[in-house]
């Protein structure tokens, strides 16, 4: 029967290997988009859609600042960069900066509707009865020295309201001047030319990142003494991916090398090592195959995280081979001895990993399936194949390890160590209380990642030189019709003016500022008629204007009519949707320095929401950190019935106690080290629980024999897990470091406390030797 199951499993593994082999041959469908890992949980789907739109928009943009003492060389450098990146299809052939022709076309498109168009300032002047100041401005332009006055314009727009409207349009502004079609600023004896662009490929695609950044590097290197600063999500993503790949490669090599060395030192034979690698390999291949079948693709993060299986799957092989140190003489007997522990350990770990599927992170669903399948496959490999593949009679263990194992057993069981145990309990209590009183949490998403310092410095320089201040916060404006949305935007604009004056933000861009609502256009016409027409006669006499030409359109300006000019590349992107029954627009913000009054505006005006993705992600992390703790409770509740069935009601509790204490002590220890508790630390605690329960189960399965070899096997398991997870504590990425540190503290604690479960007795033995 055993041979039949072993053969069956061999066929299954062969099938999975063929499947994976064919998939690799065809090109593994790898998902690398980091965004797909982030929680997409947003109760309001329109807000989520708007966030995705704005995030996508920001992520696809790049800014290069080309500087040189000679203005011509700076402009030539920018032109070369743009030509090279556009001709090789890295950038879309569009520009934020409209050409003169397009600006003129925009003016022509607006012109017929001019009496319905007023700048905010002019509107306010007229509405507050200060029409004289508009007349004074017109006179100052007619008599003053400037090139803006035009006889034909004066005949059609005598008070020059139209140029004022055009000048107030929220076109991209900064400290830069438009010279020869290039945004330029002169500072520090140098001419800085700003080149902006929209990427033609996905900024989160690793392949696109690499080829794009290589192209920029090459182009910059070919321009001798021109300096180029970079700004854009793709540069940060490329730097992060490169450092993560370097870090992953070095950590994997160190982890693997140390694990191999440890096994060779302990077993002084290659076979346990090879068979352990076989169990891991089968686990990985089976997991990969099932993930590809289930999801149709695999995320690199799931693969990387799943690779940490090395640390857990090897446990089964180690516990199995650990029996070779004892007096059990052959494979089948060794399996009988460890099977219940392995089975329960596997079951509880699968429950632990399985609860990851309940987490809100889509990427973790893949991790959950990958890990559970991998663990089950590794377990099956150990129990079905190992007894046939190893022929050890007996292995000797260094006496120091035997002595150490025996001492730990004695500490937790002998009456003589009663006082020492009391002291340990007191120490645990002190650490727990003092640690918990210092516990701090950090949910700020900006602290969880590590941004490249060099690129950060370049970003600061570009923003300072060019006066850019892009903000990822925005308003979402919703209504039943597009015109209602425009009216809401106009109410918003009135409130925003005060905030701009108060210095809470620098500017904002809304559709209504380009194409006012019908109601607003009517109001504007009325204001002009009421307050300026009566002054027209004397004004005309004063300047000598003979006749007025009235040729304006009688209908209303709509956005479509001005978009055809092609000067407003960014404006259509502010329309989230416009349907028959509903419409939603985005209002983008620049230079936000205080969000509280902006939130207050949104609270005051129904239909307007203030969206702050960074703050939202941070508050999501806070919610998910709390949920992760609930996940631990759920995980423990799911594990307990299995343990209670095996060890009885009280026995089950005693097995749960050591890992639970380790779980409570770990955040306290982190706090004593001055490290804040994060969502990622909470996720690590899920694993500390499942591995800690494993350790306690192996000790409980000893059933009072006080076998030092069991404790040594568990120590080996803990050591290899530390080599896979604990090493992450050295990561430069705070989220990963937080995860690794939690494991590095939690696992040894779980190990040291696990023998306390050795006093538990098995009450249900039906499963023992069940293969």
């Amino acid at each position: 029967m055993r041979r039949f199951f072993a053969l069956l499993w061999f066929c299954a593994v062969l099938g999975a290997s063929l499947h994976v082999g064919v998939s690799v041959y065809r090109g593994l469908p790898l998902q690398t988009d980091i965004l797909s890992l982030l929680p997409s949980e947003e109760r309001d789907v329109v807000v989520q859609e708007a966030k995705d739109r704005v995030t996508q928009e920001l992520m696809q943009r790049i800014v290069l600042l080309v500087s040189h003492e000679d203005p011509q060389r700076a402009r030539l450098g920018a032109a070369l960069l743009q030509d090279q990146l556009t001709s090789k299809k890295f950038l879309q052939p569009v520009s934020d900066v409209p050409s003169m022709e397009r600006i003129r076309a925009l003016g022509s498109a607006y012109f017929p509707y001019r009496t319905g168009l007023l700048s905010e300032d002019d509107r306010e002047q007229l509405a507050s009865g200060r029409a004289d100041s508009i007349v004074t401005r017109a006179l100052s332009q007619v008599y003053g020295v400037s090139g803006a006055v035009d006889g034909r314009l004066l005949a059609r727009d005598p008070f020059l309201l139209f140029p004022a409207f055009l000048a107030a349009l929220p076109l991209p502004v900064s400290k830069l001047k438009l010279i020869d079609g290039w945004l330029t600023v002169e500072e520090g004896g140098k001419t800085h030319v700003l080149m902006t662009g929209v990427l033609s490929g996905a900024s989160m695609s690793l392949a696109f990142q690499q080829s794009f950044v290589a192209e920029v590097d090459q182009a910059v290197a070919s321009m001798d003494d021109v300096s180029v600063l970079r700004l854009g999500a793709i540069f940060f993503a490329h730097a992060s991916a490169s450092s993560a790949l370097r870090e992953t490669a070095s950590l994997t090599i160190i982890s693997l090398a140390c694990t191999v060395l440890l096994l060779l030192l302990v077993f002084r034979s290659l076979r346990p090592l090879i068979l352990s690698l076989l169990a891991i390999g089968v686990g990985m291949v089976s997991a990969l195959s099932l993930c590809l079948l289930w999801f149709g693709e695999i995320h690199v993060a799931a693969q990387l995280f799943g690779a940490s299986l090395i640390g857990v799957a090897v446990d089964y092989a180690l516990i199995y081979f650990g029996q070779a140190f004892g007096l059990v003489a052959n494979g089948p007997s060794r399996l009988r001895r460890v099977f219940p522990g392995l089975f329960l350990g596997m079951l509880t770990t699968v429950i632990g990993y399985g609860t990851l599927a309940l987490s809100p992170f889509p990427g973790l669903h893949q991790v959950a399936l990958f890990s559970c399948v991998g663990l089950i496959a590794a377990f099956l490999t150990v129990v079905l194949w190992f007894p046939f593949l190893e022929t050890y009679r007996h292995l000797s263990l260094l006496s120091v390890f035997v002595g150490l194992g025996t001492a730990i057993w004695k500490f937790w069981s002998l009456r003589a160590f009663g006082h020492a145990r009391l002291l340990a309990y007191a120490l645990i209590l002190i650490v727990a209380v003092s640690g918990m009183s210092r516990l701090s949490v950090d949910d700020d998403i900006r602290h969880q990642q590590s941004l490249d310092a060099g690129l950060m410095a370049q970003q600061v320089s570009i923003m300072a030189i060019a006066g850019l201040s892009q903000s990822n916060q925005f308003f979402l404006v919703r209504g039943r019709t597009a015109d209602e949305v425009l009216r809401l935007e106009e109410r918003l604009a009135e409130r925003m003016k005060a905030e701009i004056n108060a210095g809470h933000l620098r500017n904002f861009v809304s559709i209504a500022r380009f194409a006012p609502s019908i109601e607003r256009q009517d109001e504007n016409r009325t204001l002009v008629r009421t307050h300026l027409h009566e002054r027209l006669h004397s004004y005309r006499e004063q300047i000598g204007l003979e006749s007025i030409i009235d040729e304006e359109a009688r209908d209303y300006l709509t956005l479509d009519r001005i978009l055809s000019a092609g000067a407003l590349a960014l404006v259509p992107k502010l329309i989230l949707f416009e349907r028959d029954d509903a419409a939603a627009h985005i209002v983008t913000l620049e230079g936000v320095s205080n969000v509280a009054p902006l939130r207050a505006i949104a609270d005051d005006i129904p239909g307007i929401s203030f969206v702050d993705p960074t703050a939202d992600y941070s508050s999501l992390f806070s919610i998910y950190r709390q949920r992760a703790l609930v996940l631990i409770l759920v995980s423990a509740c799911l594990m307990y019935p299995v343990l209670a069935w095996r060890y009885g009601f009280l026995g089950g509790m005693k097995v749960m106690l050591p890992p639970s204490v380790a779980l409570g002590l770990t955040p306290a220890c982190l706090a004593l080290l001055g490290i804040p508790f994060t969502f990622f630390a909470a996720m690590a605690l899920v694993l500390v629980l499942s591995m800690g329960v494993d350790y306690a189960v192996f000790c409980a399965e000893d059933n009072g024999r006080k076998d030092p070899f069991i404790l040594f096997s568990v120590a080996l398991a803990m050591g290899t897990a530390l080599l896979s997870f604990g090493l992450l504590a050295s990561s430069v990425i705070f989220a990963v470091k937080s995860f690794g540190l939690t494991m590095a503290i939690g696992l040894p604690l779980a190990y040291l406390l696990a023998p306390a479960a050795g006093n538990v007795r098995v009450v249900n033995r039906r499963k023992e030797g069940g293969v």
Partner: protein, 190 residues
């Protein structure tokens, strides 16, 4: 030569630390107007800072033009502010006016073709945009500058048929610092 005090026989050109002051009359010929819009006042050109045009009659308005833009104010209150970032013709307007008055048009070489004719002590310069986009950006068709010692007059022909004629007199070139009022006016747009 109307009122110039400098005795140098050559065309005057401004150096750092010098300020050119004088009076001007602007005649603006606009389509649809029965007679030209005439205004007069004083000007100051401060190298490195900008230009100030103080129109006094018939309507008092001060125009401060720098490379960064243009600000007009009436009785100390700002009426118009245009930045070079928004209106690309402003840096050209500044370069043209200050270049013409300062006797240095080298900054315009790349975009305008300059023809010079000499008539005794007087010379005439004609500036024509080399490309359509430059004409469109600078909002001029041509610019004629009459120089004896200082610039005597400037005629600007605009694309729609409008034209401006600026006549200068009482020009004085002196070393010195700009007044605090001038600095304030120019500083407002630096």
């Amino acid at each position: 030569m109307a009122g110039a005090t400098c005795t140098d026989a050559q065309t005057a050109s401004l150096r750092e630390g010098e300020i050119l002051r004088g009076r001007f009359v602007q005649e603006r010929y606009l389509t649809g107007f029965s007679k030209p819009v005439v205004s007069e006042g004083s000007f100051a050109l401060v190298p490195g800072f900008g230009m100030i045009w103080q129109t006094e009659k018939p309507f008092a308005v001060m125009t401060a033009i720098t490379a960064n833009g243009l600000v007009q104010s009436v009785d100390g209150a700002e009426t118009t502010r245009l930045t070079s970032a928004r209106l690309p013709f402003l840096p050209r307007l500044y370069a043209m006016l200050s270049g013409a008055l300062a006797g240095d048009l080298s900054a315009l070489d790349s975009e305008f073709s300059v023809t010079k004719t000499q008539d005794g002590r007087a010379s005439r310069l004609r500036l024509v945009p080399k490309r359509v986009d430059v004409a469109s950006a600078a909002a001029i068709q041509s610019m004629d500058i009459h120089i004896v010692h200082f610039v005597e007059s400037v005629d600007i022909l605009k694309p729609g048929g409008d034209r401006d004629r600026l006549v200068f007199k009482n020009q004085v070139l002196r070393k010195g610092e700009p007044t605090s009022a001038e600095l304030k006016a120019l500083g407002a747009h630096r």
